[in-house]
């Protein structure tokens, strides 16, 4: 490869992925149809995949290669974002798409897979590089990993082997630890890529550029100048047919334990020494380990669970969570969760980090609001001073805004808050890759910077486990918030105890 690199032009050429085969377990599932295959097609559209590339999909449904290709063609047409569908390109792409039906609980399927991989390697010269992607139910992760190990597929003869694992990484701390142990019995940690698609979002990556590519923010990025931080991830929709799955997880497990704690670690971590995978991940992990673990009493005070009730939305009756299809009418699932985290380190001691996530909120928004401390003296009489606020908007309308006070034009000294906005869409009108495009390329290249690591997963479980334990036995008056509201009043009360209020995003 070394001399081919002499022809590389990193400033102008797209990052190319090496020859490889991708094996997708759960190839007939929603994630594969909505995200993975459309992302791979888009990469092919941008000529970023190697010609020596192939996909082998596995699931239980009996299908031929052609039937699978036809199904995926429809998915790509339907779910491809901001890109044209080109029939001729699809035909080329589909030639590299194969399907292997079979039950992963049966050992023979792994023998068959090994044979198929050898065949694909011979046909497409994938150079023995294989990326295994777990797009299947979490309960299948361990059997699949064991099955791959049983036929030696975790180790290449000349190429690499990597395993991509989708969340949830366990259902609680204990199961997460067990899952990690069982995976590591087969795959070494450096070959395991735990995907958190939030980390693949351009705006989350931009937090690193914003914090560490500029000199002016870092000096004020600490307890001396920052009063508190609010992270919001709100969805306007309910569980939309995923009630069965969702009632087993809830907002704390589904969003906060993984995505939002990763976002928090990005906003609060120490500067890494370099943009190398482990340098960045070490700092994220350190931050997650610095989160104070609440005791039982604190867990009751520092977290609020909510569940939406029925409502009339746009003139249509919308069911409450307990009325959703497939949901237990007495479900205690949190469709809303808010947590007050504390970070016990020199930089953040005493600064509350509030994280909330909920369904059926007034709008879909994910953002981070950093509230700065007020000036020590108000020299403008009785005019209240509002804190400066920095908003990082992750979705939609991705961008960064700084709110500050300005003199209102005219006589006297009237102050008015104004906002200085950076809008991704207007400054960079180009299409941004989807999180899955970014993360798939990273996994194929072997760049784990945006993937989570075993210690990060376990640290984030540790931070929420006492809350989950408390909620196991707590009495909830569910439903406790109306659809289309910003959550239960207890959440407001939680902030009020610290003299804060939730901002309206």
């Amino acid at each position: 490869m070394a001399d081919a690199e002499l022809l590389q032009d990193p400033l102008r050429f797209e990052r190319r992925v090496p020859p490889c085969a991708i094996v997708i377990f759960g190839a007939n599932g929603d994630l594969t149809k909505r995200k993975l295959i459309p992302a791979l097609y888009r990469l092919a559209y941008e000529r970023r995949l190697s010609p020596s590339f192939a996909v082998i999909g596995n699931s239980r449904t009996a299908m031929t290669d052609d039937e699978y290709r036809a199904k995926m063609r429809e998915s790509v047409r339907k779910f491809l974002e901001d890109s044209p569908f080109e029939e001729s390109l699809w035909e080329e792409f589909a030639k590299r798409l194969f399907y292997l039906s079979g039950d992963i609980s049966q050992p023979e399927i792994f023998e068959t897979l090994a044979a198929k991989l050898r065949e694909v390697d011979q046909t497409f010269q994938t150079q023995d590089n294989v990326l295994f992607y777990m797009s299947t139910q979490p309960s299948h992760y361990e059997p699949v990993v064991a099955g791959l190990g049983s036929v030696g597929l975790q180790k290449g003869t000349t190429g690499w082997r990597r395993l991509v694992v989708e969340k949830p990484f366990g259902h609680n701390l204990d199961t997460a630890v067990t899952l990690n142990v069982n995976i590591q019995n087969v795959f070494p940690e450096h070959s395991v890529y735990r995907i958190d698609h939030y980390l693949g979002k351009e705006t989350v990556q931009n937090i690193l550029a914003f914090r560490f590519g500029n000199g002016i923010f870092e000096p004020v990025w600490n307890r001396r100048y920052i009063d508190h931080v609010q992270i919001t991830a709100a969805e306007s929709i309910g569980v939309e047919g995923r009630g069965g799955y969702y009632q087993e997880s809830g907002a704390l497990r589904d969003m906060i334990q993984n995505h939002l704690l990763q976002v928090m670690s990005t906003i609060a971590m120490e500067p890494p020494a370099s943009y190398e995978p482990d340098a960045v991940r070490d700092e994220r992990a350190k931050l997650l380990r610095s989160i104070r673990i609440p005791n039982a009493e604190q867990a009751a005070q520092w977290a609020v669970a909510g569940q939406y009730g029925p409502a009339k939305l746009d003139g249509v009756d919308a069911p409450g969570f307990r009325q959703e299809q497939g949901v237990d009418p007495n479900a205690r699932t949190d469709t809303y969760a808010a947590v007050n985290f504390w970070v016990d380190n020199w930089r953040w001691s005493g600064v509350p980090f509030y994280i909330r996530s909920g369904k059926r909120m007034p709008k879909r928004v994910t953002d981070i609001a950093v509230f700065f401390k007020q000036p020590p003296l108000n020299m403008f009489g009785d005019q209240p001073l509002r804190p400066n606020m920095l908003i990082v908007r992750i979705q939609p309308e991705e961008g960064i805004s700084l709110r500050f006070l300005s003199k209102q034009p005219g006589p006297g000294m009237q102050l008015r808050p104004v906002s200085m906005d950076f809008n991704y869409g207007s400054s960079f009108g180009m299409r941004t890759p989807t999180a899955y495009e970014t993360l798939l390329v990273d996994a194929m290249i072997g760049d784990a910077t945006l993937y989570t690591r075993q210690d990060m997963v376990e640290a984030s479980w540790r931070a929420v486990q006492p809350i989950l334990n408390h909620w196991e036995t707590a009495k909830f008056e569910f439903p406790n918030y109306a659809s289309g509201s910003w959550g239960p009043k207890e959440s407001e009360e939680m902030l009020a105890r610290n003299g804060h209020v939730w901002r309206i995003p």
């Binding site: 081919a4 022809l7 032009d9 400033l11 102008r12 207007s426």
Partner: protein, 319 residues
């Protein structure tokens, strides 16, 4: 509306323009406009029609590289120097707010071009980079125009639009330009990116892996402009120093690159699609079409030293 070229007056015109746009439409509906600017882009057009073509390209470029654009239009009328300001706007899909960029058009005759530098200096967006895009040779003949070079972070030329009598004279012109500019880009080189990318990728193929060092001869047959062929030769030779390079014109529709050596027999036809002939097999690659906007988009994204281009240029000069 034509206006004076005094910077204050142009800036006042611009302020008036934004003020007017923010007042809303005739129905009193104001969805607002968003002003976007990431650089000053000065475009030196060759003629009136070229300025129109440049304006269309700027319209495409503003989506990804919003700028204050200054288009310099040559005038045949001696003593002419005037400016007009306007805005180009676009409405992102599904949004209610237009995104607008400013455009200033300066019409200048050759005898007054030295005054343009003062105007540009006064109306450049402070603290953001300025890029100068010279679309042909017209302005390069003027010493007054060269005063703009020190203001620019990058100067982009297009050798394909230059009619130098020989390659040597062309590279002499570039060599003379290089020390006067901070960064130099050439769209004749940019046009090669997708071809170079597929050639580079071919050397990752198992049949050519590790064979670059074995290349003994590089032959380039060109149908269009010799500078691009020289750049391509320079780039390939920089990776295969032992190889001899021959560049010659050819009849036909597309350029061709032939690499030969011990165990290497590789021919690429740079047409649509690109055809690779290797080991008796022909592979095809369909590359996305390029236009001026896509080329400039690439150049505007690189506001730092482009070592690969500099190396290719240095080798190309010696061929």
């Amino acid at each position: 509306m034509a206006t004076s070229v005094q910077p204050e007056k142009i800036l006042k015109e611009l302020a008036g323009l934004w003020g007017g746009m923010s007042k809303g439409d005739s129905q009193g509906v104001n969805s607002g406009v968003l002003r976007a600017c990431a650089m000053t882009l000065v475009v030196a057009a060759e003629s009136e029609s070229d300025a129109v073509a440049a304006g269309e390209t700027l319209g495409e470029l503003m989506h990804e590289h919003p700028s204050r654009a200054i288009v310099l239009r040559p005038s045949a009328k001696d003593g002419e120097l005037e400016a007009r300001v306007f805005a180009q706007c676009w409405m992102p899909f599904g949004k209610r707010q237009q995104i607008c960029c400013e455009q200033i058009e300066i019409t200048a005759s050759m005898d007054r071009v030295s005054e343009v530098q003062g105007t540009v200096l006064g109306i450049m967006v402070p603290d953001l980079p300025m890029v100068l895009w010279v679309r042909g040779q017209h302005w390069l003949k003027s010493e007054g125009f060269a005063n703009l070079f020190p203001l620019a972070r990058k100067v982009v030329i297009d050798s394909s639009n230059c009619d130098s009598p020989s390659l040597k004279e062309h590279f002499d012109m570039i060599r003379a330009l290089e020390p006067r500019v901070k960064l130099l880009g050439d769209l004749a080189w940019t046009r090669l990116t997708s071809f170079r990318e597929v050639i580079a990728h071919t050397f990752e193929d198992h049949r050519l892996l590790g064979r670059l060092k074995d290349v003994e001869s590089i032959e380039i047959e060109y149908t269009s402009h010799p500078v691009a062929a020289a750049y391509l030769g320079g780039w390939l030779k920089s990776a295969s120093p032992k190889a001899t390079v021959a560049i010659h014109p050819k009849q036909g529709e597309f350029d061709q690159v032939i690499l030969k050596g011990s165990g290497v027999d590789f021919r690429v036809e740079l047409g649509t699609p690109v055809r690779f002939h290797l080991d008796g097999f022909c592979h095809r690659a369909l590359l996305p079409p390029v236009n001026e906007a896509s080329l400039m988009r690439e150049e505007l994204s690189i506001l730092r030293t482009d070592r690969v281009f500099r190396t290719a240029l240095a080798v190309a000069e010696t061929l």
